[in-house]
């Protein structure tokens, strides 16, 4: 789970982490044990605290199995109990990776790679340069590792599925190109369709052309990872996970070629 991965980074800055759901203590205990989670998972049965924080989802009616879910939100709270920052995204299909919170709050340079853990896959995205100059091209690679039984999609795809993609934002990148390996064409009998899929471990490679207007100094390259996890039986909702990678932009020497 992604929060476990970021936990040490937060603790180095004196910040502890905790998760809260409406599940019973038993469910949380089982989940934490299965995922080897080292942080507290708080049982808010009845969604009392969820409601106190103002994020109870009113669209799910009472009596429904999902009643009491929150709009997923992360609160960064100071030691005085005052909310310092909130992380949420309007469409709620996009989750803010806690690694992004780490970089956002602390400029935690770490390595020039970021790892994103979703339910059944882990993606490590790395840029090949620690520093560069404006207008330069740098390499990117994304290593995907899927849990057994789960796959994500390549292209071309029918429109009701979400293909896997990584896209960096225009404030840092003038152009970009990613190359994904050839997906495997797999027949899904229950759907009556043959679809291009990725499973197990694979790597995508790409190149980014840094914007020529970037000023010297530290810069956070922002991007979004999009994918949809499916097994043979079920599809999860398509996800968009925002991430950031730090890079240092050097001043250009007067005679340096572009």
């Amino acid at each position: 789970m992604e929060l476990e991965h970021s936990r040490k980074g937060f603790e180095e800055h004196g910040i502890k982490v905790a998760a809260i759901t409406y599940d019973s203590r038993e469910i949380l205990h089982r989940f934490a044990a299965a995922q080897h989670l080292q942080y507290p998972l708080l049982s808010d049965t009845g969604s009392v605290v969820i409601e106190k924080f103002g994020i109870l989802n009113p669209n799910v009616p009472k009596g429904n199995k999902f009643y009491g879910i929150p709009f997923p939100t992360d609160f960064l709270i100071g030691p005085d109990g005052i909310i310092r920052a909130k992380y949420f995204l309007p469409d709620y299909q996009t989750r803010v990776a806690s690694s992004r919170i780490l970089l956002d709050q602390f400029n935690a340079a770490g390595a020039q790679s970021v790892s994103i853990d979703a339910d059944d896959l882990r993606v490590t995205i790395a840029i090949t340069a620690e520093h560069s100059v404006a207008g330069q091209e740098i390499g990117v690679r994304a290593d995907f590792s899927l849990a057994s039984g789960w796959h994500i999609y390549g292209r071309p795809l029918p429109s009701n599925y979400t293909a896997t993609s990584i896209e960096f934002e225009a404030d840092g990148v003038a152009s970009q190109a990613f190359e994904f390996p050839t997906p495997e064409q797999v027949r899904f009998e229950m759907l009556g369709e043959t679809l291009p899929v990725y499973h197990g471990d694979f790597r995508a490679k790409g190149a980014l052309l840094l914007r020529s207007g970037l000023k010297p100094g530290d810069f956070a390259l922002k991007g979004k990872l999009k994918f949809q996890e499916c097994s043979a039986e079920v599809c999860k909702i398509p996800q968009t996970i925002a991430f950031e990678l730090p890079i240092r932009i050097d001043a250009m020497a007067p005679s340096a070629p572009k």
């Binding site: 809260i20 924080f53 669209n59 929150p70 997923p72 609160f75 299909q93």
Partner: protein, 85 residues
């Protein structure tokens, strides 16, 4: 309940019922289900507000409150939908 939110509630009822009885849900239906959940999404207490007191059991059956959860520089409190699904 407004028309929009009762329509959302219907979609949620229908899809939840089918998911938990092992029936198939198409990706379009699941997309509509997600949108129905997101209807009128709000982010709650404002930045700068003081959090309310709380005391909840954690997975080890221990009572936790903000004071013992918080580190020297504070706490990241992550509200998730469920660990069970």
């Amino acid at each position: 309940m407004s028309d929009a939110s009762s329509a959302s509630a219907k979609i949620i009822e229908d899809v939840v019922g089918r998911l938990f009885s092992g029936q198939k849900v198409t990706p379009q239906e699941f997309g509509a289900f997600v949108n129905a959940q997101n209807d009128g999404a709000t982010s709650g207490l404002a930045v700068g507000a003081k959090i309310p007191d709380f005391a909840l059991l954690d997975q080890h059956d221990e009572q936790r409150s903000f004071r013992d959860l918080s580190g020297r520089e504070g706490l990241l409190l992550v509200f998730s939908r469920s660990a069970d699904w």
